[in-house]
Subunit: 463 residues, 2 copies
């Protein structure tokens, strides 16, 4: 397909219909009326505003959502503000017929689904720029910045970029993804003009990449010095001290760069809706044959906000990875999955499931005092010691070589850096290397089965 055709078809996927739009506008109108009524009885609230993609006309089809902000006077104490937004949010969503749920990002907010539209009711302080009291105070300024600058037609360019990023698996600033936020996609469109120009530029990025729409900084060098170790730096136009892309990991940035290259070489609708076959048990078994897959499965006991849970999972995955490397295994890859409410799964692909029977153990150089202690310590308990170069070595027989038993021992003696909140769950988890058993146990869980499938394929959706 030619590029123009691909973009025309892609736009059909990402652009809401008139009916979608009316529905969203109606739900928002209803929520605004309810909220205006609710806040009228409460002191310290200055008004409400619509923020996010609905306000900017950049939401994409099927992801209708409305962020409604309640503006507090800056003299209202933080805890009172939090208490009030929870109360108002719960009542408002219930009045609209939704089921309110307490969420937590930088501070608490209330979420509910009303007529298929996700509503987030969020508190912020009404402050002047750079006098932020809470993390959400910038949002109304972000919204205004984008609305004032997006030219007619650029909303759809934002939608194409979001759709491309969703299709390629790099959209979302949450810990689960560590990718691109909605605001970031809008700034990229403002900076490069349209979708294809973003892609053409990204295809030539070499991290670190720095973008400064308002030219706050004199040079890229200056930005790199201030925002060290950040692969993508996009200076917030309303706050020069903030990197809008701080959540973007090097891996996700690299995936976006590569996806952009491949799209330029070979434009295709697949980048917007990747073909993910429904994995069959037979296929998964074939894919996992002869591979060394350690997995850890456990159930949650207490629910927590998704970002908290994903943070714990990623930290634990990294800690277990390091523990396995320390034990002598090579960890080729690892991955985490959760349904965010009940079950969690960590998978590690290893070079082997059993360590060699003997391990080499390096002792001190012969000229140190400790050389004699080393000989005394190991004599009769190991092969050697011998001397190679200026050092002593022994070959010691491992008392355990099985990865499951070794990892359990490390976990039991608290030598693995896992998240505190998951420590006892992981210690009591099912730890196993039978891929067939894992696949069978996931048969009735499409989300888990999909994760296992994409872990086994080990390919981003755009390749």
């Amino acid at each position: 397909m030619r590029l123009e055709e691909v973009l025309a078809e892609a736009l059909k996927i990402v652009k809401p219909t008139q009916a979608d739009e009316s529905l969203l506008k109606n739900v928002i109108g209803e929520m605004e009326n309810i909220l205006k009524d609710e806040i009228s009885r409460i002191d310290g609230i200055l008004g409400i505003s619509l923020e996010g993609s609905a306000a900017k006309n950049t939401w994409i089809r099927g992801r209708e959502e409305a962020d409604i902000f309640i503006h507090f006077d800056k003299n209202v104490p933080r805890d009172e503000m939090e208490k009030k937004v929870i109360e108002i949010g719960f009542r408002a969503i219930e009045r609209a017929g939704g089921k309110p749920r307490l969420m937590y990002a930088d501070h608490p907010y209330v979420e509910g689904v009303v007529n298929g539209v996700t509503i987030d009711i969020v508190a912020c302080y009404d402050v002047e720029p750079l006098k932020w009291l809470s993390a959400t105070d910038r949002t109304p300024y972000h919204t205004r910045y984008i609305i004032e600058r997006l030219k007619p037609g650029q909303e759809d360019q934002v939608r194409l970029l979001k759709g491309f990023m969703i299709g390629c698996g790099v959209y979302g600033a949450e810990i689960k993804v560590k990718g691109f936020s909605g605001y970031l996609t809008e700034l990229l469109i403002l900076n490069y003009g349209d979708f294809i120009n973003v892609i053409k530029n990204a295809a030539n990025w070499k991290p670190p990449v720095a973008i400064d729409l308002e030219r706050y900084y004199r040079s890229t060098k200056e930005m790199l010095e201030i925002f060290r170790n950040q692969p993508l730096i996009v200076i917030d136009p309303i706050d020069k001290s903030r990197n809008v892309a701080s959540a973007v990991s090097l891996t996700k940035l690299s995936e976006f760069i590569l996806a952009s290259k491949l799209f330029i070489s070979n434009p295709s609708l697949n980048f917007f809706k990747p073909q993910m076959e429904k994995p069959s048990v037979e296929n998964l078994k074939r894919l996992s044959a002869e591979r060394n897959l350690l997995h850890i499965f456990f159930k949650l006991e207490v629910e927590r906000p998704p970002d908290v849970l994903w943070g714990e999972l990623k930290k634990s995955e990294e800690g277990i990875r390091r523990a396995l490397e320390r034990l002598g295994f090579k960890v080729y890859r690892s991955g985490s999955w959760t349904d965010e409410t009940e079950s969690c799964l960590l998978i590690f692909e290893l070079d082997t499931l059993k360590l060699p029977n003997f391990a080499i153990h390096k002792g001190p150089p012969v000229y140190l005092k400790t050389a004699e202690d080393f000989i005394e310590k190991w004599s009769g308990k190991a092969i050697g010691p011998w001397i190679q170069g200026d050092r002593l070595y022994v070959l010691r027989r491992r008392d355990e070589v099985d990865v499951v038993k070794l990892l359990k021992r490390e976990l039991d003696s608290n030598r693995v850096a896992i998240a505190k909140g998951l420590a006892s769950l992981i210690r009591n988890a099912k730890i196993d290397h039978e891929a067939d058993g894992l696949i069978r146990s996931a048969v009735d869980n499409p989300s888990m089965l999909n994760f296992i499938n994409s872990f086994l394929k080990a390919k981003p959706p755009f390749i």
Copy 2:
């Protein structure tokens, strides 16, 4: 045992008896007479001299040997000198009833055993110091230097040091050992006074160590700069540009340091005559159980001087070691053995005999042009590619995982840096990992069996 008793007993081991001494003197006298007669008929020869331990009265019991040097005029061309010393040597040894053998160090010499005494007939040029024409020209000056300076009683101190070094496996400058020469032991005794003082000092050495008896250099720093990467530097008193200890490897130096420490801590006669039990097949099988031992056995077709053969073996051992590491194995240890005439054996102790089925393969960073080629190259042929950080990776299935087959393939395609002289022998060698078979095949070969035993024990004799 107290130190004094140990030294008294050790001296009995290393010091020749009056009968030993008479025998050696008689053989030397006979050889000198024969040689004087032989050279009288030949032009360009200025005389003969006794060199080596017999001349310096520092040989040790059971190692009776006489180095007789034939001094050539410096105008005799090198090839003529070589031809003449071979002719004279062969005739002289035959006349004395021995069987002459052509040897080769820096240049050819003739060896034979007469009445149990090893006779070496060597050529040198009669030149002034520092005007050396061949490597052996220094020897008469070495001999004179030692004879003039060794005080009565110090000869026995040299004998103790040689005996200690033999017992600890560090004596001998030849490639097989890479240890201490006789001349080096004599210089150490001159420098430190007596055996126990050498040992006490060596116990505190930290390589690199530099000794300069004639104080040719201003500082240790200066010597270390000139003799770079040499762990032990002993400046030749008759030639300041030469390191007498240049053959000493870091490993052998370290073994000597450690042996000295252990002897000081616990003086024992074992350092002079290590207890080596005769290895039984059962013991060897027990020792090798569950260990991963790759061995290469082959027979020589052409005889060569021991130092040449050992050089080839060590080079090949190192090349195969590197090839195995490159293939993905860890080589814990390796060793070579030969009877110097017929059979050769190389052993490698590995972490495993089979590589994992899958190997990780690191591709280019996504921002390079080659990223797309990498994807094209591996798509469908490997698991992945995926992105981690800024790079592409795949997991590829190995087509061969067995160490014997992998090594044979490397050898067949000439990718192993083995000595040219052994290349075809090693390519056609018996390469196997069955330790039991190796042990059985060595049952009637005590030298090979001893090597296998000490390889399996992986301990120097003094530990």
